[in-house]
């Protein structure tokens, strides 16, 4: 969402001078101590003041889940709706008032289980809405059942013998559904999370951000491999537009593309240098590229990418719709209700 024209009053945008505080509501935050949701909330509250949008233009819509309590804690407009339906409600909001900056806060159950259909249809229609998926690979609010992102074999309340569903790869799904902006971040990397939130905001079209979020009560350590200091460097690669894919504790490893398969190469044995690596291109028009990046997560040999996978332009639904409204107004002139009611074959009775 890149409309900055929404600033009202005579002061220029830079005059808004909002701070994190301005985005904190008076409601007590009710997540478990230690929950990753706190960080996501804080990063959003830190990022929004930088965007030069007045508070009243933000709307946060959520479904049901721990994560979906999010809007209560933001001092903006907020709507805590029903399970899985936030994208559909946000769609109505955005169509009615395209000037608003509309955000969806959702969980892996909310967005991918009950809400899967609205999720893919939102991505397809490409309304300018920013969706943040709090992925903790578990149902938090209902106290610990497995979710569509839980790994096979997971023992939970509803799967005492281990779960048997193959999980979704949310990023692959989003690519398959035609998303124009896809990113991933982690609750435990606040600075990077802020950058990603800002980029999601700046993108015009639906922005999908998956956040690795820790549920320390029901699924503690689900992402530890990627967030713990020790294991992270070997297991995470940061995607930066125009930069090669380098990772490792000493940036000693890189990713090359062998045909359509990413492979890890060493940068220390003299065979390859950074120049030989895959250069990340988030603007690559061919979505196959984003698919390849998304699929790295499924290969235990490869590090998991975080950052912006894809960011391309495509007509937004609400723009096309308002375009049709404007065109119709031009073509048919000022609406005349009386004339409309009297249109078609009419006759007078005297």
């Amino acid at each position: 969402m890149s409309t900055q024209a929404t600033v009202t009053g005579s002061n220029g945008p830079t005059e808004l001078k909002l701070s994190k505080r301005d985005f904190e509501s008076d409601q007590e935050v009710r997540w478990c101590p230690g929950c990753g949701d706190y960080s996501i909330l804080a990063q959003v509250q830190r990022t929004l003041p930088k965007l030069n949008n007045p508070k009243e233009n933000y709307v946060f819509v959520s479904g049901i889940g721990c994560s979906s309590r999010f809007p209560y804690y933001m001092d903006t407009y907020g709507f805590h709706t029903i399970h899985g339906r936030a994208p559909a409600i946000a769609t109505g909001v955005k169509i009615t008032n395209p000037e608003l900056s509309v955000w969806v806060a959702t969980g892996d159950g909310d967005a991918l289980s009950i809400g899967g259909n609205h999720f893919i249809h939102l991505l397809r229609k490409n309304l300018d809405i920013n969706l943040i998926l709090f992925n903790n690979r578990i149902y938090g609010l209902t106290k610990g059942q497995y979710s569509p992102t839980s790994e096979v074999g997971k023992v939970t309340k509803s799967t005492p013998f281990g779960s048997i569903d193959h999980p979704f790869n949310p990023v692959s799904m989003a690519v398959g559904a035609g998303a124009t902006f896809i990113a991933r971040a982690m609750d435990r990397d606040p600075a990077h999370l802020q950058t990603v939130i800002q980029k999601a905001h700046d993108h015009k079209g639906t922005s999908f951000v998956e956040v690795f979020q820790n549920c320390n009560i029901f699924n503690d350590g689900a992402w530890a491999k990627y967030t713990d200091k020790q294991s992270k460097p070997d297991n995470v690669v940061y995607l930066e537009h125009g930069k090669p894919l380098v990772f490792g504790p000493n940036r000693e490893k890189g990713i090359r593309l062998d045909g359509f398969k990413p492979v890890v190469v060493s940068l220390t044995n003299g065979t390859y240098s950074e120049d030989d690596l895959l250069i990340h291109d988030e603007a690559q028009p061919n979505s196959t590229y984003a698919y390849i990046m998304s699929h790295m997560m499924d290969d235990p040999e490869l590090p998991v990418p975080v950052g912006v996978f894809r960011s391309v332009e495509k007509v937004c639904y609400e723009d096309a719709l308002m375009g049709q409204v404007e065109a119709a107004k031009k073509r048919f002139g000022k609406p005349d209700l009386q004339a409309l009611l009297e249109s078609g074959d009419t006759w007078e009775v005297k």
């Binding site: 009202t8 509501s25 409601q27 007045p54 508070k55 009243e56 233009n57 933000y58 709307v59 819509v61 049901i64 809007p71 209560y72 933001m74 001092d75 903006t76 407009y77 907020g78 709507f79 805590h80 709706t81 029903i82 339906r85 559909a88 409600i89 946000a90 769609t91 109505g92 909001v93 955005k94 169509i95 009615t96 008032n97 000037e99 608003l100 259909n117 609205h118 249809h121 719709l321 049709q324 409204v325 119709a328 107004k329 073509r331 048919f332 002139g333 609406p335 209700l337 009386q338 409309l340 009611l341 009297e342 249109s343 078609g344 074959d345 009419t346 006759w347 007078e348 009775v349 005297k350």
Partner: protein
């Protein structure tokens, strides 16, 4: 050869043929011409669930029934004066309701081996004397049409498609109708294929001339114009009326009209109609399903649109959970259910009134909403408009009920003056000082409508129980009881502004017939007949089903018997019995068909005799 013209007060005529035979088109055209000639009309299109059911089969028969008259009528008629049967299946399915000595025009060319078989006729009914009690006119329409079109040298397939206009031409002659409007229709409809314009015009005129020239009919008939109140009129189906009513509410309220909808028979036409009027700031959104349709509507209401969603019974079932959210967040919108035969997929193209209880109770928890039903095609305009007015005044979703019968049915509508429509004032909250999300208006109990984008009114709402005034999440026991009561009272209070219930007939007596929705016409006719016969029978029609009018209990108490006809197994009747403890009598019809007034008359007779 000028033949005698007999004047009739009213005529009911039914066109019946294969779904591909274009019966709806020519039936509709006769309706238009009749309306333009000043008749009152009532129509009943009746088609199969299939797009094109197999040719010649019984389930493939498509019918269009028209009632036109020189006086005020309320239904599409019952038994027909004339039946046009384009094939044996059409005859089989419809002959039962042709009046004795009625006119039967059959396309004899279609009464051949395979067609007879498909209609399960052992013999050709046109030839074995079985139709003797009717005035049978066997006309080789296919051949005659093909002759009429000879000069155009078109394919036989194309020629065959024109025989509906040949039939229409015959009917035009029979009822002394002018062909002007039909000619215009043909020219407009086929404008992109001039050869079809010529073909259909020739067919139409061919049918007309055929009657003019042959000895087929001894008499022709005319039906004089009806004495309708003066004004500008047009013909209108219920679905179009809903669309126009919604646009009118949008214009009068000054809000953009948002429609979130998912196609479903028989409601889709409202979506189709509204999507044409973007210049009236109508924003139609074809959602991925009914849940998304409902939810997008909630989102639109939340951010200040005139929010609307249309569907039929199964769609309402899907919307139930979200309707609960709309109720508890007290946002204004209208949910339109064009009811069809149920349960489940049921009879998608047939009519029924079996979703009333669903309107009341089709969601979890105590979740009351106003419910309002239209009585006839043209009434859909006023009723949907009223639904929007109530929604905004009381900050509540409103359920609007129509059904397949009036949605597809049509009648003349006196176009209202826009200036005479009730105002729909909208007052968005603006003032941060006085604002709290669930602070209620003292009179209406409505909460304020504060739309995103308004500085200083940032607030949060949701589906969890809310503290009074502040709207913060609350699980306080007393607060929950209070809020539950407030939500109910707000809806109940609407009764205080409802007009006095109009009683058709004496305000006490033997039988009171209580109707709601599309049974209005049949009930009106039946009660008029009973009253003409000197019986002590009155009727009331209930537009507002929730809340019920304040004077209803008193009225019911003044009659020995209360009869409640419904196109269901008895739903509204139970509300009356529970609320007023009156022994109201259920009279249900669950056939996917509207009531015939004769059925109602018989039932009233039965009650009158029982006493």
């Amino acid at each position: 050869m000028s033949k005698p013209v007999e004047s009739l007060p009213e005529v009911t005529i039914r066109f019946a043929g294969d779904s591909g035979d274009g019966m709806q088109l020519v039936g509709g055209e006769l309706a238009n011409t009749s309306a333009l000639s000043g008749n009152d009309i009532g129509v009943f299109p009746d088609y199969p669930a299939e797009i094109r059911a197999p040719m010649g089969t019984l389930p493939g028969v498509s019918g269009y029934q028209l009632h036109f008259s020189s006086f005020d009528i309320h239904t599409p008629g019952e038994q027909y004066d004339a039946l046009i049967a384009m094939n044996p299946a059409a005859l089989k399915m419809n002959i039962e309701n042709l009046k004795a000595n009625g006119i039967l025009i059959a396309n004899s060319d279609a009464f051949k081996d395979r067609n007879l078989q498909l209609a399960h006729y052992d013999e050709n009914p046109l030839e074995n004397g079985s139709l003797d009690k009717y005035q049978l006119f066997s006309v080789n329409m296919t051949e005659l049409t093909s002759k009429a079109l000879e000069e155009l040298s078109l394919s036989s397939k194309v020629v065959d498609r024109c025989k509906n206009f040949f039939a229409l031409g015959m009917v035009f002659w029979l009822y002394n109708r002018t062909m002007d409007h039909a000619v215009g229709l043909i020219k407009a409809k086929f404008s992109k294929r001039p050869e079809l314009v010529d073909a259909n015009l020739l067919a139409l005129k061919g049918g007309y001339s055929y009657c003019e020239m042959t000895e087929q009919f001894a008499t022709s008939y005319e039906v004089k114009p009806a004495k309708l109140p003066p004004g500008k009129y047009r013909n209108l189906t219920g679905n179009t009326a809903v669309a126009l009513g919604a646009i009118a509410a949008g214009q009068k309220s000054g809000l953009p009209l948002f429609l979130g909808s998912y196609p479903i028979t028989p409601a889709s036409d409202i979506l189709h109609e509204l999507s044409k009027y973007k210049h009236f700031d109508v924003r139609t959104f074809q959602a991925e399903d009914e849940i998304a349709a409902m939810c997008s509507t909630i989102g639109a209401a939340y951010s200040g649109a005139l929010a609307f969603t249309t569907t039929s019974g199964p769609g309402v079932a899907l919307k139930g959970e979200a309707i609960g959210l709309a109720i508890t967040t007290e946002l204004p919108m209208v949910v339109c259910n064009v009811q069809r035969g149920g349960p489940s997929t049921g009879l998608p193209t047939k009519t029924e009134q079996a979703d009333l209880m669903q309107a009341f109770y089709g969601r979890n928890g105590e979740a009351p909403m106003p419910i309002i039903a239209a009585s006839r095609p043209s009434d859909c305009f006023e009723t949907i408009y009223e639904a929007f007015r109530l929604a905004i005044k009381y900050m509540t979703p409103v359920m609007f009920l129509s059904d397949g019968y009036i949605a597809n049915g049509a009648e003349p509508w006196m176009v209202p003056k826009v200036d005479n429509l009730a105002e729909i004032p909208v007052a968005f909250a603006k003032d941060p000082e006085s604002y709290a999300p669930f602070l209620r208006d003292e009179k209406t109990l409505a909460r304020p409508w504060a739309v995103p984008g308004t500085p200083g009114l940032e607030h949060r709402i949701g589906g969890l129980e809310k503290q009074a005034d502040t709207g913060n999440v609350s699980s306080d026991p007393r607060n929950h009881e209070y809020m539950t009561r407030m939500r109910a009272e707000k809806v109940a209070n609407i009764a205080n502004e409802l007009p006095a219930t109009k009683i058709d007939g004496a305000d006490s007596g033997d039988v009171l017939v209580v109707g709601w929705g599309s049974t209005a016409g049949a009930i009106e006719t039946a009660v008029e007949h009973q009253q003409a016969r000197g019986k002590s029978v009155s009727r009331i029609h209930i537009r507002y089903l929730n809340p019920l009018p304040n004077d209803l209990g008193k009225i019911l108490g003044n009659f020995k018997h209360v009869l409640v006809p419904e196109m269901n197994s008895g739903q509204f009747v139970n509300l009356l019995r529970a609320k007023y403890l009156v022994p109201a009598i259920a009279f249900g019809k669950v056939q996917g068909l509207p009531f015939y007034s004769s059925e109602l008359e018989a039932k009233i007779d039965e009650i009158l005799e029982s006493k």
